[in-house]
Symmetry: C2
Subunit: 278 residues, 2 copies
Amino acid sequence: MRVGIVGLGLIGGSFAKAYHESKDWEVYGMDSDKRILDLALLAEDLDGVLDETTISQCDLLLIALYPQAVIEYLEKNAPYISKDTVVIDCGGTKRKICEAGFQIAEKYGFTFIGGHPMAGRHYTGYKYSLANLYDGMAMVIIPKTCDDMNWLEHIKDLLKPARFGTVTVTTAENHDKMIAFTSQLAHVVSNAYIKSPTAREHHGYSAGSYKDLTRVAWLNEVMWTELFMENRDYLTEEIRFLREELKKYQNALEQQDFEKMRELLREGKERKVEVDGR
Amino acid sequence: MRVGIVGLGLIGGSFAKAYHESKDWEVYGMDSDKRILDLALLAEDLDGVLDETTISQCDLLLIALYPQAVIEYLEKNAPYISKDTVVIDCGGTKRKICEAGFQIAEKYGFTFIGGHPMAGRHYTGYKYSLANLYDGMAMVIIPKTCDDMNWLEHIKDLLKPARFGTVTVTTAENHDKMIAFTSQLAHVVSNAYIKSPTAREHHGYSAGSYKDLTRVAWLNEVMWTELFMENRDYLTEEIRFLREELKKYQNALEQQDFEKMRELLREGKERKVEVDGR
């Protein structure tokens, strides 16, 4: 089996290393930065370069670029992709990519599937990529239709070397709605939280909760701006909702309403148990 | 040496276990729940019960109760406390407790110091307490005056069995301001975050950032309401500030202002590096 990997950043690099560990697979890679490609070749994480020839021999093509670049890549390279190839992208938002991907795939006869590996690290780039980044993590896939269970099993088989814990099948709409809450809102809140003037003096006064709330404050602002803007309807709604919820706590404090504060906190506590168990 | 511990919850229980591991110390404990006290005695975490007799023999008295209960305890038991005893409370807010504590201590001749061990666990209660809960963590102490370095060294010596990583000396005002940001705001945000209707369907779509943002959503609403209300000036200010910051991201999304969004995210990223390093 052969996998082609486009974009050797944290995500693509980790796929390259994971598939390379699997004896059944040959790994072909490509990166717009020649130094990164050379590094991956020298590190022997790749079996070769993904080019117009090798791309046509791939059973699986994983595209790990920013959303807009995924579409541009597909538009340019679709003519070289075999009809037997399954193409999965790894972009953090899915509506725009899937719409374009499904269209291009239909035109050229290959299969496109939207994908989002739910894994990351604090740092980006090939040098931080790990063969076990996806171990036990969640993978979301968005096929054009999902009425053929055997075919979905085939897709899951293709993803096996990454060792995901779960593979969830959904729509682009639902993915984008969920991700606005689970990931994008978390990054916005964390990035905003750290801006309090009090943050500058926190040393000696902080434990786990500060650490958790600010862990993802450091982020790649170019990538996240693109992801946020593509998902601005859902993300705006989540920020608006959170701001309104926070206002309730603020009101309870300002009105010294003990009963209301206990109620607000109890509601959050109960929701946490309902959603995640204890 | 003898330590008395009032309140055998997570905090007091962990102190009892830590001091009990130190051969130089005898540990006397008290809890308003007789079953918890019996449990601690049966588990041999205590050398005896803290009562009107043993309290007078303590070198150190650690009070691990809710803020209001700390003051009530001191008012009732001050007559039994020896002039040689150092009393440290463990409440999460410090202005009100320190004001009362310094006054009572002056009247009865013992030493009162406000304290806040910066450690916790997701769960509360004696059964979750750990001998190593404070290992390497931060302890904040608030003495009435801090002009005698030798005497501060003596206080640090008294705290040695807990094995804190740092002991920070500050004022009640500064403590409460810092804690509003590092701990209280984190709990409010986490508790509010989980209330998004989207939370109910997050399984399969979440990775570390969701987990981090909602870790402290589960909390003891009675204790935290008391802590929040005592610190409502500083906490209100932090919530207000965060809501305003979040509004900026919301505006950038609504106006599809890519440049502004990148700028907001870059600012947060740079602040994170400034505050915590990379």
